[in-house]
Structures are given as C-alpha cells and as structure tokens.
C-alpha cells in the first residue's frame, strides 16, 4: 500500500512559488498542480471561476486512461497531453512519479512557450516534492498520530 503523503508549509510554499513563476513566465491563465490520484496540491492564477476539485479529478482520470493507452501500444507513458479549444487550451504533463501539472492558457501564450517554461519549472517542483517525500517518511510528523478514539466518535457519532 502506498504510504500517506504529507505536505508541510515549507514545501507547499515552494510549490506555490514554482506554479506562480510558471504562470508568469508562460503567460498562462492558471497553473494547477495535482497528484495522480486526483488530489489538488497547489493552484496559481485565475482559478476563481474554475472548479479546481473537479478539474483535478478529471485530469487524473484522463491521464490515467492515457497511460493505460500507452501501455497497450508498448509505451511507458505519453508524458504530455494537450487539449486545444477555440479559446482555451489545456496542457497536462507528468512531473515526478506522483504529480501532474496542468497549464491553462489562451491566445496570449502558445504551446511552444508553455513547453519551454515547463521544462524550467519542473526541476523546482521535483525538488520540492523530493523534500516533501523525505519528510513524509517521518511518520511522527502526522497529525493523525494524535487523533483519539473520542475524536473519531465526535466526527461520526458513537454508532
């Protein structure tokens, strides 16, 4: 079973900064970092009208299906996914083993620019995730250690 993943403030800030930098450098509308299971980690840019939770879940499903397709034709994975719309475009790419980076952009940017800036941002994100994973291994840092049976009963009722 995969161990739980714990993201602390320091690494979260580093991820947010990497997303913010990429947003600016790629002239994107939004940059969203999710894990491959569909959990939202960080988002930067104009996400006020975006249902980021749904986007995270659908992106993870989309990428999982794409990776399944890759295996069927004998590929390790496809790494990138690009959806081109009339006004909005979505670029999805794998970052490290566990994350997906979603970049939403319009005519103010281009696929070439997005891909160029993505390369630079990846190393920052991967470094932050490597730090978070190392810290995750320290189970003593989990808030769940302190949870008592009474806490659980108060959340669910004593049935």
């Amino acid at each position: 079973m995969t161990p739980q993943f714990v993201l602390h403030e320091e690494e979260f800030d580093a991820l947010m900064m990497a997303c913010g930098d990429l947003l600016r450098d790629a002239c994107a509308k939004a940059v969203i970092l999710i894990d491959k299971n569909g959990q939202l980690l960080a988002a930067s840019g104009d996400t006020s009208e975006l249902d980021a939770t749904s986007l995270a879940s659908l992106t993870a499903g989309n990428m999982a299906a794409t990776e399944g397709l890759a295996k069927l034709v004998g590929e390790e994975g496809f790494g990138h996914l690009f959806h081109q719309g009339q006004n909005e475009n979505i670029h999805i790419s794998s970052v490290s083993e566990r994350l997906l980076l979603v970049i939403i952009f319009d005519e103010r940017s281009s696929l070439g620019l997005v891909r160029l800036r993505l390369k630079q941002a990846k190393s920052h994100i991967e470094a932050a995730i490597a730090r978070a994973e190392k810290r995750s291994e320290d189970v003593a840092g989990s808030p769940l250690d302190e949870i008592t049976d009474e806490d659980l009963d108060s959340l669910f009722g004593k049935d």
Binding site: M1, Q39, P143, L152
Partner: protein, 195 residues
C-alpha cells in the same frame, strides 16, 4: 493514498464504491449528494453513457467535518460495473484508501456479486493492495426487492472478513449514510495506525 496538507490543514482520502453492474453505486453517491449540506460538498461528476450507465467514474468530493483542526475531505468514486470496463476499474482503484463493496441482493445477481468481489481482489492485487488489509465495508443493496436473497446467505458468501456490513435501499437512502460513515471511520482509523 491519503494526502495531508499542513498548509490548508486538510486530510484528503479516496473511497471507491465497487460492485457489479446496476447494483446501485451511482445511486449511493447521488443520495449522498442530494442530502448533504451544500457547504460540505463539491460538484458531482458523472461520466456516463447515453443510457446513464457509468462509463468511467462518478466523483463526489465531500467534507465530513474537522478533527484536531484538520478538515477531513473524502473523494468518493464509483467504478463502472459492467464486466468489459475492467481497464477503467483498475485505474480508479489507484491510490484508494477505502472501499465500499455494494452487493445486489437480488437472487439472479448472486453470481455477479461473487465475480465482482473476486475482480476487486484481483485488481487491488495488481495495484499492490490486499483487500484483507484495506479498510472496507459491505453494503447489501436492494433489500426491498421481492427476490432479495436471505441476508445470512449473502453475508456468508461475501463477508468472509467479517467487516462492518449494512442492509440498504439506496433509492430511498436507507443504509447509505451508515455505510459511508463506517468506511470513512475505518479509513481514518487505519491512517491513525500510521500507514
């Protein structure tokens, strides 16, 4: 795989509703969605065919309250039940923290329940999970049907691990929240153990 975010003080977990085709997995999620405070839920997504059969998955994000200052957020997924969608089912089990196995109580679906449970074991195994060590509960749905199998008989066939199990009529909501609460609690208890 649960995800704990200290910055937003959230504990995120993934629960998958599994079971044979037309057993009521989507109906469970729909009832939860329809009867939950708007503040506690996100949008429900259903990727379905034109005939309203689940094609890929249903998805419902749900908050269950705070525990030690951390918001508990559960992502509920269903799998497509039809046999030929097995590749999709495998994908949805990735990173799962807990499973609800929804059985169809009708006598003519008895074999389908057994096949689906076996399929769940196999698909979990491929992802490196063992059902015997994964938080899960069983729901016997459609208890209102005239051809429903005797409960003890179903229990003996499906609940060999003696996990919490519930009778349900998902169309009217009976047993739906009891099932959800039980699996959510088991997931958090498992996380507390330090997995």
């Amino acid at each position: 795989m649960s995800f704990i975010n200290y910055s937003s003080r959230e504990i995120n977990c993934k629960i998958v509703y599994y079971g044979p085709g037309l057993c009521g997995k989507t109906t469970n999620l729909q009832h939860i969605y329809d009867n939950t405070n708007p503040d506690a839920k996100g949008k429900m997504i259903s990727l379905e065919t034109e005939t309203e059969r689940t094609l890929f998955f249903d998805f419902l994000p749900l908050s269950l309250g705070e525990i030690r200052g951390f918001k508990t957020r559960f992502h509920l997924y269903t799998v497509p039940g039809q046999i030929f969608y097995n590749a999709s089912r495998k994908l949805i089990l990735k990173g799962v923290d807990g499973v609800v196995f929804v059985a169809d109580s009708q006598v003519d679906r008895y074999d389908a329940n057994l096949e689906s449970l076996e399929n769940l074991r196999e698909n979990l195994d491929e992802q490196g999970y063992d059902l015997d060590h994964l938080p899960h509960v069983i729901q016997y749905n459609k208890r209102d049907m005239p051809n429903a199998v005797d409960l003890d008989f179903l229990r003996q066939a499906l609940n060999t691990n003696h996990v919490p199990d519930f009778e349900a009529v998902a169309t009217s909501g009976d047993g739906v929240f009891e099932t959800l609460k039980a699996v959510a609690k088991r997931v958090l208890v498992e996380l507390k153990k330090g997995n």
